[in-house]
Amino acid sequence: MRVRLLRAAILAVFLLAWEGVARAANPLLYVPPSAVLPALRRLLALDSYPDLLPSVLLTLREIAVAYALAIAAGLGCGFALGLNRVIGRAYAPIVGALYAVPAVVWYPSLMLFFGLDAASKIAFGFLLGFFPITLAVLAGIRQVNPHMLAVARAFGARPLTVFVKVMIPAMMFTLVGGLRTGLALSVIGVIVGEVLGSKAGMGALINHAYGLFRTADYVALVVVTLVLIVGSDAVAGLVERRAERWSD
């Protein structure tokens, strides 16, 4: 209880300090909290940005497609590398090495190839989400107790059955964790892509507000985007908990 009060107090002090400093220094630039609420109201009333809804939907659609692709490719690659020892040993280090490269270096090439439309954002979101999923599949396979598989085979189970009924449940936890990280990263990929250059979507709106120095609107847009992000992660969390219940 006391901890919660302290946290609330810290938050309050922070907001008050921000309000004071912003007002004193440059309220237009530093956007005191008191300016954020009216800006939010204007935004949600579709006043400041009438095409807010289509932008949100576009961003969500980009995320959905990017994530779906990331799951498909991530699972496919992950299992292909994880289940075959030679292929795995050959290509897993390459995947690891590519992961060591900051993903944003691929973005200019994607923009060149796909242009400023949704496609480049989807591609970038896909790239970002792909790696954690692949790596999670690899890690999940690696931590499955080989005894369990041996026992299943000793009971005469066919390879497909062993895979579905033994291996998948055993790696569920790691896998779902990777899927959740993959979603978070796909989301970031799409948003980074939009902010760095796009014609539509939340990132484009943010860029627009920034370019016109409409700082209050900009903060409101950021708040809405954050809500979207937290929301998607919360949904992912729910799915994760549901999946955990299955694997038991």
Binding site: L29, Y91, V101, P108
Partner: protein
């Protein structure tokens, strides 16, 4: 070299060569638009053309990254130790730290640029923020997970608070700090590149962005390859350093 390792190496080499060959062939046959997908030979040629400016850009980026990196590591470790070692601070502040850590920092980038302008300052600040949080969270966890027995032993032998930090806590979290440093470099570099693409006047991010805008595909591929190679080299270097320093862990 064992039979398996030999097979693995062969597979890797053959795939890379085959991929390059197919790529070159496809490009030469005109099946892809050279404007978007240049032939490998064109990319190699481009290396020569952009060589000097690309290296200058890379140097600039790496310099900013280095500054941001030092700042993130110092701040990340200091704050991580401070927050992680005092139970009251840790309990109260953890949710805030996790929340800010989980937030995509790109959302505050336009604001930072509005305040600091274009160029080096926002790159260093943003790069630092990017690298700081993973390190901070990692170190906080590392401090929390230090074996309690070691602390009890030190106290039993009369260690002062200063001695506890210096002789027990800090050596105990060295593996965690190294892991954080390994993670941080990629994040710092990432942050700097993003700023250079968004609001840069110099550096690899800016160079690549300009090349993309100018539809100079071979040069862009060459530049991308260069940055990727540099990044991989740095991470490999840090890994080697990590291995050297962890000999007592076995």
């Amino acid at each position: 070299m064992s039979r398996d390792t030999l097979r693995v190496r062969l597979l890797q080499i053959v795939s890379v060569v085959a991929l390059l060959a197919i790529w070159e062939g496809v490009a030469r046959l005109g099946w892809v638009d050279p404007l978007f997908v240049p032939a490998p030979s064109a990319v190699v040629g481009a290396f020569g053309r952009i060589g000097r400016s690309a290296l200058a850009g890379l140097g600039d980026t790496l310099l900013k990254t280095a500054v941001a990196y030092v700042l993130s590591v110092v701040l990340g470790v200091a704050l991580g130790v401070a927050i992680g070692s005092v139970r009251a601070l840790r309990e109260v502040l953890s949710p805030f730290v996790i929340a800010v850590y989980g937030m995509p920092k790109i959302l505050v980038l336009p604001w930072i640029v509005l305040i600091l302008g274009f160029g080096t300052a926002p790159a260093i600040v943003y790069g630092t923020i990017h690298g700081l949080f993973p390190i901070l969270v990692l170190v906080m966890g590392g401090v929390r997970d230090v074996d309690r027995t070691l602390v009890t032993v030190a106290r039993a032998f009369g260690a002062s608070t200063w001695q506890l930090y210096w002789k027990v806590l800090l050596p105990a979290i060295v593996p965690t700090v190294l892991a954080g440093m390994r993670l941080g470099i990629v994040f710092c570099l990432l942050g700097v590149l993003i700023v250079e693409m968004f609001a840069g006047v110099r550096g690899m991010g800016y160079v690549m962005g300009s090349l993309a805008n100018g539809f100079q595909a071979p040069e862009l591929f060459a530049a991308t390859a260069l940055v990727s190679a540099a990044s991989i080299a740095i991470v490999l270097g840090l890994d080697a350093l990590n291995d050297r320093l962890s000999h007592w862990r076995g």
